[in-house]
């Protein structure tokens, strides 16, 4: 479909690229974000890309909604989707897949008649795209995991999901940048610091990046700075 512009109030337009999730949208969405930044310049306040949309927030003091709409339409009409080379970076993320830090390895294994080792291999065996960041700073929504790894959220969320946890919800996968409540299925832990406001860049991942999870041993995980504290809460 052709992208649609939807009114999102006095200071924003929502640009809709499709109605359903499709990894093939990402090269268009990332190119659109980049071109919008140069087209709007100082008048741009924020750009929030997600699975199928980009929210373009502009300064209404500098631009009317009509003028903002014209700028967006011009960017769309000249849009050249990113290619493999010009598109998102490839980020390798080490993961220690272990029941002590990823209790739901078992739940996913049981559903397939697999070993937990096979679940880890299946998760690390694909490349994933970062669709959006949200929930808490640096929390990347990635996907899509193969259907056999898909698993509904826990009926009762954990009050504390440890920082670095690698998780699955339905066909999405993510890493928790900080300790927070959460209802996703935990399958492992990364030693990487995913968000640090003092660092440039602040987040390890950005929308449009492609992520490869790399299985590491307990020793390698500790060497990279990971905490082996087990997940305390039993899932419901």
């Amino acid at each position: 479909m052709n992208p649609r512009l939807e009114n999102a109030g006095l200071e924003a337009w929502l640009v809709r690229f499709a109605d359903g999730i499709d990894p093939r949208l990402l090269p268009r969405i990332s190119a659109f974000c980049r071109d919008c930044r140069s087209a709007f310049g100082e008048s741009l306040v924020d750009l929030v890309p997600s699975y199928t949309t980009v929210l373009v927030q502009y300064d209404p003091w500098r631009l009317s909604d009509t003028r903002a709409r014209q700028l967006i339409e011009r960017v769309l009409s000249q849009l050249v989707p990113d290619t493999e080379e010009s598109g998102g970076r490839i980020v390798e993320m080490p993961v220690w897949y272990d029941l002590s830090v990823g209790p739901e390895l078992e739940r996913i294994a049981a559903g397939n008649g697999w070993t937990t080792q096979q679940v880890a291999e299946a998760h690390a065996g694909s490349e994933y795209q970062v669709f959006a960041l949200g929930f808490v700073p640096g929390f990347a929504f990635m996907g899509l995991v193969q259907p056999s790894l898909a698993m509904p959220r826990l009926a009762t969320p954990r009050r504390q999901v440890p920082r670095g946890s690698i998780a699955i919800a339905e066909r999405q996968t993510a890493a928790y940048p900080q300790q927070t409540p959460g209802g996703w299925n935990l399958i492992g832990r990364t030693p990487l610091v995913l968000f640090d406001a003092e660092r440039t860049p602040m987040t390890t991942l950005e929308p449009g990046d492609r992520v490869r999870f790399v299985a590491v041993t307990r020793e390698e995980f500790v060497e990279l700075g990971g905490s082996t504290d087990p997940v305390a809460e039993v899932p419901q």
Binding site: L14, V48, L55, W61, G134
Partner: protein, 316 residues
Amino acid sequence: MTGPGALRVEAAGPQALLQDAGRFGVRHLGITQGGPMDWHAAGWANALQGNNAGAAVLEVAIGGLTLVAEAELTLSLSGADLSATVNGEELRPWQRFTLRAGDRLAFGLPRCGVRAYLGAHGGWQGVAALGSVACVGRDGLGGHKGRGLPLAEGDRLEPASPLPPLSAGAQVPLAHRIDYGSAAELSVIPGGQTGYFDGGSLHQAFNSHWQVDTRADRMGIRLTGPALVCRHPGMVSEGLAAGAIQVPPDGQPICLMNDRQTIGGYPRLGTLTPIARARLAQCMASHPVMLRASGTERARHDYFEALTAMESFRAN
């Protein structure tokens, strides 16, 4: 002591947060906006000091805060009437006033409105993170001592500007003071999903009496009333503008405010105008609210008129 003198926190109250215009250009990383819930009252606290509209003010919610001046300070107070007193004597909002060393500024129970704004010359000093001192606990960013921490007993607040104090007495013109006690009429700009709500629900949305729910904070304010029905076939999460009105399956709208989640997956009835957002920020639980559909032209005109009034007051 450095700088022009400070306020010491004697009692912190439920929530007192430093807020400047907000944190921008980082929402794609999952970092929220922050900033004053009532930009209008915050803007007047700054205009009374001759500050830019985005200088850091103290947002005092509900009351319960007591501050003691360690030196002479000329401050400004706007927004909600939280039964403020100086050494026990009533202090009305919408004006500039002077504290002498040892004076005690106390906020009591809310009489009218929810959030008061305390302004200082040049704004208050804070720890900037990503270009803003806006205090957001969930993100652990900003605030007077950083890491998104709220005001706590024993903390100190210092004005950012070393300039000599202004004279007391300046007041916000009556025409620009909002009566937070009246029923709130909130203008809503319809959006791309408004048409997915069924006809009866749209009629109810804009003709019913809504009430502000107790579930209200800096992320979002829920309204209770008739259950709205949306026939949207199923959404994926998308970016949320300030003032977006999400309607979850229970049919009760949630107006998304300054500390909202960056993306969300419920259908939206529309978007509150900036003026409606500021007005809603001052509504206590059970306050009556009406929603009115508005065009962007009108909303833009009203918004600019409000901003221009502040700007010309400041310049004089």
